[in-house]
């Protein structure tokens, strides 16, 4: 069996798999953030809380109604997405005319409220969600748990479907056009306010979908999205929010870098993404795929 710089391949590939899974979540979440920012001009700080709500929705659906994972994969994002739509209609739409910072502050406040309420009701220790597809494959050089493989594939499919929806469909063309010039798009007869609401709902649904996928891997807990959303902000700064494919590539790439760091220099694994962010700011301040805005 081969060894790489003295690292046993099990450890290397194990960490790479973990990195890929983290990257999958970074990609899904930064994608949603970028789409929402494009249309609403709001950096959705509530994204982490909505990811957590997705996981919780699945957990509650299972615990209370016995609804299995595969159904929750659809139902939970719809529920959380609808919640997002209500938030947009009641609160967010009141601040579009203000500086971006107010959107950031408003959604930060909302995140505190939501996470605080969940913590109050269910505590912060977390609950396990049963693995829907236990078992795995022995690949010879490592053991590959089936569910984890599924998460990576599912995230890729979701990301590519989002890319396709935005870059190749009629609704996507509306979105792109309205991101550039909402007034003109509206003057063509398209109901832009409704498009904005829908976009937020979809972005939030995407975060919740990531949350459902995470539930069997992580503990379902009120604070599971808190640190994640901060890392995702760094991902977004690194990638720039201009390009959908850029967000996907950056997300997965950073996950892998994190995984590699865990193998070669574990103490830096928490901070490596921020170091990359600092480097990108030095070399290409607009982000790897960004236009200055």
């Amino acid at each position: 069996m081969f060894e790489l710089l003295g690292i046993p391949p099990q450890a290397l590939f194990g960490q790479l798999l973990l990195g890929l899974i983290n990257g999958a979540f970074y990609a899904m979440l930064s994608l949603g953030l970028a789409v929402i920012f494009g249309m609403l001009n709001v950096i959705n700080f509530t994204h982490g809380a909505q990811y957590m709500m997705g996981a919780f929705a699945a957990w509650l659906l299972l615990g209370i109604l016995g609804i299995p994972f595969w159904v929750s994969l659809v139902v939970a994002p719809v529920i959380v997405g609808l919640f997002g739509i209500v938030l947009e209609k009641v609160l967010l739409k009141r601040i579009y005319h203000l500086d971006h910072l107010y959107g950031f502050l408003l959604t930060f406040g909302l995140a505190l409220v939501i996470e605080g309420l969940f913590q109050w009701k269910w505590g912060s220790s977390g609950a396990p969600y049963p693995n829907p597809i236990p078992g795995g494959f022995n690949l010879g050089f490592m053991f590959l748990p089936t569910y984890r493989a599924f998460v990576v594939v599912a995230a890729l499919v979701i990301c590519l479907a989002t890319w396709y929806g935005i870059e190749r469909t009629r609704l996507g063309a509306y979105l792109r056009a309205a991101t550039e010039n909402p007034t003109l798009v509206r003057a063509f007869g398209i109901n832009v306010p409704r498009l904005i609401t829908l976009t937020y709902g979809l972005g939030v649904g995407l975060a919740a979908l990531a949350g459902v996928l995470a539930a069997p891997i992580q503990q379902v807990s009120a604070l599971m999205g808190v640190n994640l959303v901060l890392v995702v902000f760094a991902v977004v700064v690194i990638g720039g929010m201009g390009s959908i494919m850029g967000s996907i590539v950056t997300g997965f790439g950073l996950g892998l870098i994190e995984g590699l760091t865990k193998v070669f220099y574990p103490p830096a694994s928490n901070t490596v993404i921020f170091v990359v962010m600092a480097l990108v700011l030095l070399i290409k301040p607009a982000g790897l795929f960004g236009q200055t805005k």
């Binding site: 003109l184 509206r186 063509f188 109901n191």
Partner: protein, 234 residues
């Protein structure tokens, strides 16, 4: 005589605090091609934007097909059958030519098909998969006109479609505008170049400082040429 399609009366409009239109009155009958002439800053673009409903504050009356639109949102107005080709053209850079062309939704039957539009603008067909803003100025103008022909709108608002274009292209656009008129479109054309305007339009309204100050029929342009030159400061 054809029915009145658009009747603007006592239209006032504001950009924030600044009061731009001070009571604009004019009307267009179905099938007519009417121009708005006037110097820079007279309020021509503002008038089109007011009709389209994309201006914050406006008062007075704008009746389209006998429906009052002054309080409507711009998407609602567009769906009544008015289409707008803005002065700055508004081509979307994140959409390719074909997507730009297909963006405005069809609001009524009777518009041109995509094939007809491409026949009208063969250049666009060639460059169908290019990024919209990578086209030349003339091509972008054709795209901006082309994309509003598909929607089935009866009234087209064209804001200075010849601005900054080479004479051959101006001529080509003139032909297209005449062709559109013969297909039954009603057109409100904003122009500074009244030599061009005179070759295509039935009537001309002259704007000054947020008012319509005069109306000249195309048949009278020759007699009124001195007067028009003073209005337009040429």
């Amino acid at each position: 005589m054809a029915e009145t399609l658009l009747k603007v009366a006592g239209l006032q409009a504001w950009y924030g605090e600044s009061h731009i239109l001070h009571g604009v009155d004019f009307e267009i009958r179905r099938g007519e091609l009417v121009t708005l002439l006037g110097r820079n800053g007279a309020g021509k673009t503002t008038t089109l934007r007011s009709i389209m409903g994309i201006l914050g504050k406006r008062t007075g009356s704008i009746a389209f097909d006998s429906k009052e639109t002054i309080g409507m949102s711009s998407d609602h107005i567009a769906r009544l059958g008015i289409a707008y080709c803005p002065e700055e053209r508004g081509i979307f850079s994140s959409l390719n030519v074909d997507e730009n062309l297909r963006l405005p939704p069809i609001v009524k039957p009777g518009g041109l098909s995509i094939e007809e539009i491409y026949r009208l603008f063969p250049n666009l067909l060639e460059r169908r998969y290019s990024q919209g803003t990578k086209l030349s100025g003339g091509e972008q103008q054709m795209l901006a006109i082309g994309r509003i022909l598909r929607t089935g709108a009866d009234l087209l608002l064209l804001d200075e479609p010849t601005e900054g274009l080479a004479p051959v292209i101006v001529q080509r656009i003139g032909e297209i505008i005449r062709q559109l008129k013969s297909r039954g479109f009603t057109i409100l054309l904003v122009e500074q170049n009244f030599h061009f305007a005179a070759t295509v339009a039935d009537r001309h309204y002259v704007m000054e400082d947020g008012h319509v100050v005069d109306m000249v029929a195309s048949s009278d342009v020759q007699q009124s040429i001195g007067k028009l030159q003073t209005y337009l400061g040429v």
